[in-house]
Symmetry: C2
Subunit: 273 residues, 2 copies
C-alpha cells in the first residue's frame, strides 16, 4: 500500500529531542512560486500533533507565510510555549538553509474537548449533491489543484477579458474531497482550509499576482467526530468581505457528514491589480 500524497507531503523526519525536525516540499502540492500553503499549514500542525508531549485536539491554527519555501528540505522547529491543565500552546517555525529567518511561522492551540452545551448556528449550504455536479476539469498547471476533486455549485470563475460587469460575488459553494480519497483528520482539514481559489480571481475574472499572507483555522470537532466522517466530500463555502490597498480577506466554512460544521478559517492575501 502506497502512502497518500498528503502524508508524503507532510512527513517529518527526526525526533523531538533534536533542535528541529526535517520536512521537504512536495512537487505534488506545488503552486505559483512555492508549495501549496495548505500543505505547509498541515505540516506545521502535524509537527505539533506528533510531538510526544501533545495533549488534546487542535483547536486553533495560525500560519504566517513569511517567504516562499524553496523546493527541497526545510527545518521544523516546534516549541511548547505553555502547558495548562486542559490546553497547550505551541509555536512552530520553518527555516531553510543557514538563514535564521523564518520562511513560515505558526501557532497551534490544542485542548481537551469536553461535552457541553452544543448548538450549531451556521448551516451547510443548499446545493445539488456531489454525484450530480461535474468535477472541475483537471487542466490547470498548478499541481496542488489535481490533489483535490472540486465540484462547484456556485462561484467558479470563468476568465474574463475585462472586469466583470455587473460585479461578481466573491462567494463560492462547492464540494471538496481529496482526489485520492483519504479518511478525514486534522491534517487534511488544515490543508483543505486553504484549498479555495483566491477570491480576487473570481472578482477580477483573471489571476493576478497573489499570495496568502496569514491564515487561521478553527477546528470545531473532536478527533472522534472527524474519524466518523471518513472519506465523504466536505461542503465548502468561501467568501470575502473586502479587496483594498493590495490585500483582501477570505472566510471559509467546511461542513462534514450530516451538515456538521467541522472548521472555519480566515485568511488575508496579497494581490497586485
Amino acid at each position: 500500500m502506497t502512502a497518500h500524497a498528503l502524508d508524503l507531503a507532510t512527513a517529518l523526519d527526526g525526533d523531538h529531542a533534536a533542535p528541529a525536525r526535517v520536512a521537504r516540499t512536495s512537487d505534488a502540492y506545488w503552486t505559483f512560486i512555492g508549495p501549496f500553503g495548505g500543505a505547509s499549514a498541515a505540516t506545521a500542525l502535524r509537527a505539533v500533533l506528533e510531538h510526544p508531549e501533545r495533549q488534546g485536539d487542535p483547536l486553533a491554527l495560525t500560519v504566517n507565510f513569511c517567504a516562499p519555501i524553496v523546493r527541497g528540505e526545510y527545518a521544523v522547529h516546534v516549541r511548547r510555549t505553555r502547558g495548562n491543565r486542559s490546553s497547550q500552546h505551541w509555536s512552530v517555525e520553518f527555516t531553510q538553509g543557514e538563514s535564521a529567518e523564518a520562511v513560515l511561522t505558526a501557532s497551534v492551540v490544542t485542548a481537551a474537548r469536553r461535552d457541553s452545551f452544543s448548538r450549531q448556528v451556521a448551516s451547510a449550504p443548499q446545493m445539488p449533491g456531489w454525484e450530480s455536479l461535474a468535477p472541475l476539469p483537471r487542466k490547470v498547471s498548478l499541481s496542488w489543484v489535481d490533489q483535490y476533486e472540486f465540484r462547484f455549485a456556485e462561484g467558479l470563475f470563468p476568465p474574463s477579458e475585462t472586469l466583470p460587469d455587473p460585479p461578481r460575488s466573491p462567494r463560492s459553494v462547492l464540494w471538496l474531497r481529496d482526489a485520492e480519497p483519504r479518511p478525514l483528520d486534522f491534517v487534511s482539514l488544515a490543508a483543505m482550509s486553504d484549498a479555495f481559489f483566491g477570491r480576487i480571481f473570481q472578482v477580477l475574472g483573471r489571476i493576478p499576482p497573489f499570495g496568502t499572507v496569514s491564515m487561521t483555522t478553527y477546528f470545531h470537532a473532536s478527533a472522534d467526530e472527524l474519524r466518523a466522517h471518513g472519506t465523504a466530500p466536505l461542503a465548502g463555502v468561501a467568501d470575502a468581505s473586502v479587496f483594498h490597498r493590495s490585500f483582501s480577506d477570505q472566510s471559509v466554512e467546511l461542513f462534514g457528514a450530516g451538515g456538521q460544521l467541522l472548521a472555519t478559517a480566515g485568511q488575508v492575501a496579497y494581490f497586485r491589480a
Copy 2:
C-alpha cells in the same frame, strides 16, 4: 493633559536593545480573572509598532491567550522573524516572573499598503444612529466595560433563568466607542476587536465560566484612513457559527466613517456550560 486610559494600559518601558520591554496590567481594563484581552492584544501590537525596525501598517494580528496574566508587570519579547521588501513578520511573547512559559503569544504581519483595485463587499449594518440609541448602563462589575460606550441596536443579552426558547441568535449589532473619546488608530482598533461580549452569554442568557483562547484581527485600512476616522463611533457586528464541546467561535466586523470596513476579527473561546 492626562494620557488616555488605553495609552496607559498599553504603555511599554525600556528600549528595544534589551532582551524584553516591560508593560503592566491596568486595573481600568480588568475582566474576570485577568486583564481585558483586547488591552493585551493592543499592547502586543503596540510593541511591534514601536519597534524601530518596523515598516508598514499592521495587516494581521493573532493573539493566543496562554494563561491569565497576574496583576502587575510583565516582560514583552519582540522578535522580527522575517523581513521582506514589502512586508515583515513579528513574534511577540509575554512572560511573567521567573517562568520561561508564556502567558501570551502573538504574531503580527506589517506591510506596505499600495493603491490597488478596491471593492468592499460587506456592508455596514442598517441600524438607528448613535444619537438615537441608549448607551449601555454602566452597572457591570468588570472595569473594562466602563472604558467603552456601547449602544446596542440588536443582540443585547437580558439575563434569563432558563435557556431562552425560542433560541436566541448570537448576533449583535451596535455602536462602539472609547468612553473617553480617543482618535482611532491600530492600537485602539485591536482592542475593540475583542470588545464584544461572549456570544455564549447571549445564547444561554447567563454568563458561564468563559475565556478567549485565540483571536485574529485583520486590518483593512491604512494608517491614513484610520486617522481620517477620528473619534466617531464604529459600527460593529458580532456573530458566532457554533458552540460545541466547550468551545465556540466569534466573528466580528468593525465599520468606520462612511461605512468603510476597517477590521474583521475571529476568535475561539472556552466556555463551561
